[in-house]
Symmetry: C2
Subunit: 129 residues, 2 copies
C-alpha cells in the first residue's frame, strides 16, 4: 500500500505518517521507485498511534506504549503507570481550564457588551484599579 491509501485508511495525514517514519515509530519498506510500501503491520501500528494520540498521549508516551504493546512479557502495571501519569496531566489541565472558564465567564457576564467603553474585563486585566 502506498502512503495515500494508508492515509485514507488510517485517517492520518501523509505528512504525519512520514513524520512518524522520520522519528522511527514506523518502518515501512521501499519500492524500487522509492515509494514507501506499507505492510498490514505498519498500518496496524499507525492505527495504534492514531488512537493513542487521540487520547492525548505524547509521542514519547506512544513510543513507550508501542514497545509495551509489542512486548509479550510486559507487566500491565507498566502500561497503567504511563496511563495514570497522563491522566493526571489531563486532569491538571482541565482544572486550569475550568478556572479560566469560571473567571472569564464571570467577567463576560459582567460586561455590558454595548458601544460604551466601560468594561469590567479590561478593568480586571488592568489590575482592578
Amino acid at each position: 500500500m502506498n502512503i495515500g491509501d494508508v492515509s485514507t485508511q488510517t485517517g492520518l495525514p501523509a505528512k504525519t505518517i512520514r513524520y512518524y517514519e522520520d522519528i522511527g515509530l514506523v518502518k515501512p519498506l521501499r519500492d524500487d521507485n522509492g515509494y514507501r510500501r506499507f505492510r498490514s503491520q505498519d498500518i496496524h501500528k499507525l492505527n495504534f498511534l492514531g488512537r493513542a494520540r487521540a487520547l492525548g498521549f505524547t509521542i514519547e508516551d506512544c513510543r513507550t506504549l508501542m514497545a509495551l504493546y509489542e512486548d509479550d512479557t510486559r507487566a500491565s502495571s507498566d502500561v497503567k503507570k504511563v496511563a495514570r501519569a497522563h491522566l493526571a496531566q489531563i486532569e491538571a489541565k482541565i482544572a486550569d481550564l475550568n478556572a479560566m472558564r469560571d473567571t472569564l465567564g464571570h467577567l463576560i457576564d459582567a460586561c455590558a457588551g454595548d458601544d460604551r467603553p466601560d468594561c469590567p474585563i479590561l478593568q480586571d486585566l488592568g489590575g482592578k484599579a
Copy 2:
C-alpha cells in the same frame, strides 16, 4: 527600573519580558549602558499581559486587548467579542479533555495493573481485537 526588578515585581521571567519587547508589546527606554529602563506604564502593561496570559489569551489576543485598553473610545462589545471567542475555545478544549479523561479513566479502571501482560488499555489502542 531594570529588568530584574521588573521581573520580580511582575512575576514574569526576564526572558519573557525581553520577548514581549521583541514582538512590540512593551517599549521600555534604554539607559546609556544599553540596559532597558522600565517606566511605571511599562510595568502596568506587563501586569496586564501577565493577567491576560494567565486567562489563556493568545499573544495576538493580548495585543488586541491592550489596544482596546488604551483606546478611550472603545466599545465594550469589542472586548466582549474577543473574550467570548476565547471562552468558546476554552470550552471546546475542556470538552476534548473531558472525553479523553473519561475514556482513559475507564481503561485505567479496567486494567489490573499487575505483573501479567493482559491489558485492556493496550487492547483498546490496538483496535480492540
